[in-house]
């Protein structure tokens, strides 16, 4: 059953994303997810971005009926949380993190654990680069001798181009692992690059989720359950996922092309 938490504050991050900060402890491993329940509204899976001693944050993109209600939440509101669920990332130093859009949210807790790594963060333009002015993030990056490279589709900040282009240039034999999270089309490209260069990938995937605990089958990708077997899949597993970047299931269970799935998720 859901644990109850109180919302401490709501932070505006980008024109399309906010972070809700919650009071209390949570036993969370980067890459895992929780089910966030707003009673009488809905319950959805999210990763934890800010992981502090006595509080934690969830960064949410405003795109659907549920997420558009988030910025209107008043501090002191009580919410329910189930989880954390799923496997989480395997921690390896000397890595590269490739994050597209909201995909930087799970990286925020990951970079606290890894060292000597490079983060490649992409967004469509400067105003959509999450945590750009976040001092805490800057400190963690420095402390762990990590480095961050920004890129934007329109060139308004950092490198003018896609994260995948930067990844190709940064890959070398010292890189132990690539982590990635973001739109599945990007994940698939990152996977292709890693395969070509024989570098291990850990990709955080997303499918429409209901139970979160491995029984309802809603979030299946081939014979894998994103909630239970994932959400992080390694290269060996990804090679078997013929549906990756191609098909996903709607709430009804109907299997559709991934673009149709994304269009539906935006509603």
């Amino acid at each position: 059953m859901h644990q109850t938490y109180t919302i401490k504050k709501v932070i505006r991050e980008t024109p399309k994303a906010v972070t809700i900060m919650l009071d209390g402890k949570i036993n969370y491993k980067p890459g895992q997810f929780i089910m966030l329940w707003l009673p009488d509204v809905d319950e959805k899976p999210f990763v934890i971005s800010y992981l502090e001693k006595n509080s934690f944050g969830i960064t949410i993109e405003e795109k659907g009926i549920f997420t558009k209600k988030i910025p209107k939440i008043k501090p002191k509101t009580k919410v329910g949380i189930r989880g954390p669920f799923g496997n989480g990332f395997e921690i390896k130093n000397n890595s590269i993190i490739v994050a597209g859009g909201l995909g930087i949210a799970p990286a925020l807790s990951l970079i606290k654990k890894i060292k000597n790594s490079i983060i490649i963060q992409g967004a469509k333009s400067k105003e959509y680069l999450l945590y750009l002015k976040n001092e805490k993030m800057k400190n963690i990056i420095q402390k762990n001798k990590n480095q961050i490279i920004y890129c934007t589709d329109d060139g308004s900040y950092g490198i003018h181009g896609f994260v995948t282009g930067v990844l190709k240039e940064m890959l070398n034999k010292k890189v132990k692992t690539v982590y990635t999270c973001g739109p599945e089309i990007m994940i698939q490209k990152v996977f292709e690059i890693c395969e070509k260069n024989k570098i291990e990938l850990q990709a955080s995937l997303e499918r429409f989720m209901k139970c979160g605990i491995g029984i309802c089958g809603s979030c299946c990708i081939n014979d894998q359950l994103v909630c239970k077997d994932g959400p992080v899949f390694n290269s060996k597993q990804l090679r078997k996922l013929t549906e990756l970047g191609k098909f996903a299931r709607l709430k009804s269970g109907k299997k559709v092309k991934i673009q149709e799935y994304y269009d539906w998720r935006q509603k």
Binding site: K44, G80, G217, C220, K251, G253, K254
Partner: protein
């Protein structure tokens, strides 16, 4: 040791994946089969595409699960690609179906029997849709429905019954009289639970059904009642988590034993685990076959 037959279908063991659990795709069903299930059941297939309820749809409670997923389905006319792959599943397949009218059940049966499932389960007992239990709580309606499907079905049919009715024995008898080949029981037990601190209904639907160890005794009691009322074989479902539970279910009168929520409690390999535990019990008690347990 665990081999058995049910409606003339041979199974390697009596453990069946219950409907609504992991049955959304053939690939998942194949994985469950590889984890030792004697047979697998699809998620209930409905007449037209339906989204089901908003989340929360499934929540863990003490000793069980509480759900109102709300019968999501792509609709049978959108599922040809899945149906074509049914033959790849190496264990008997039970196709579960539901509808809002007798015609729905007849149409879906006529359509899917071309793909040759081993058994067609008629879900007339879902508490999580407004008219989900309509048939399952009336003997007269049940008889009409089962009779109509039986008339056109070339595949054995097995209505799934609800414990949320006045007299399950009477419904089971109506099924048998209308020509049902087997009975499946029980579906989840209807409940309304509020979150103790947030004071809101725990499921978005407002109510739902409980399953898992918490309902085992209710399931056994209902299976005994059905056993006393009919001759046709029973697939007994409800709270089976360990080998001893499966043995109890067989002793109560079931010929096959369903496992659903157990997948949450013990993982997808619960089928192998329970089968091994059953064998262990049988060795200790000098029982050689499933039929012997039932005596």
């Amino acid at each position: 040791m665990l081999k058995t037959t049910f409606c003339e279908i041979e199974l390697q063991n009596p453990l069946v994946l219950a409907s609504g659990i992991l049955g959304t795709s053939v690939e998942l069903l194949k994985r469950v089969a590889a984890n030792g299930a004697g047979a697998v059941t699809t998620k209930s297939i409905g007449p037209i595409e339906r989204q089901g309820h908003n989340n929360p749809t499934v929540v863990e409670i003490e000793n069980g699960l509480y759900n109102a997923v709300g019968l999501p389905t792509p609709g049978y006319l959108n599922m040809n690609d899945e149906f074509k792959k049914w033959k790849e599943i190496k264990v008997p397949l039970i196709a579960s179906i539901y509808g809002s009218s007798v015609d729905d059940y007849v149409d879906i049966t006529e359509y899917i029997q071309k793909y040759n499932p081993s058994i067609i389960e008629l879900n007339i007992s879902c508490p999580n849709k407004d008219d989900g239990m309509l048939f399952g709580s009336s003997a007269a309606l049940t008889k009409k429905l089962v009779g109509a499907v039986k008339e056109i079905s070339k595949i054995p049919i097995m209505p799934k019954l609800t414990p949320n009715c006045n007299n399950i024995a009477e419904i089971a008898l109506a099924c048998e009289n209308a020509g049902a080949d087997a009975i499946c029981a029980i579906n989840t037990v209807e409940k309304e639970i509020l979150h103790p601190k947030l004071k809101a209904p725990l499921l978005a639907y407002g109510k739902g059904g409980i399953s898992g160890p918490i309902i085992k005794e209710i399931a056994l009691e209902n299976v005994r009642k059905i056993r006393d009322a009919v001759e046709i074989p029973i697939l007994g479902i409800g709270g089976v988590t360990y080998g001893k539970d499966a043995v109890e279910m067989l002793k109560a009168g079931a010929s096959l034993v369903g496992i659903g929520s157990g997948v949450y409690f013990r993982g997808m390999d619960i089928f192998k685990k329970v089968a091994d535990e059953m064998k262990e019990i049988m060795r200790k008690e000098n029982i050689e076959s499933i039929n012997e347990i039932k005596k």
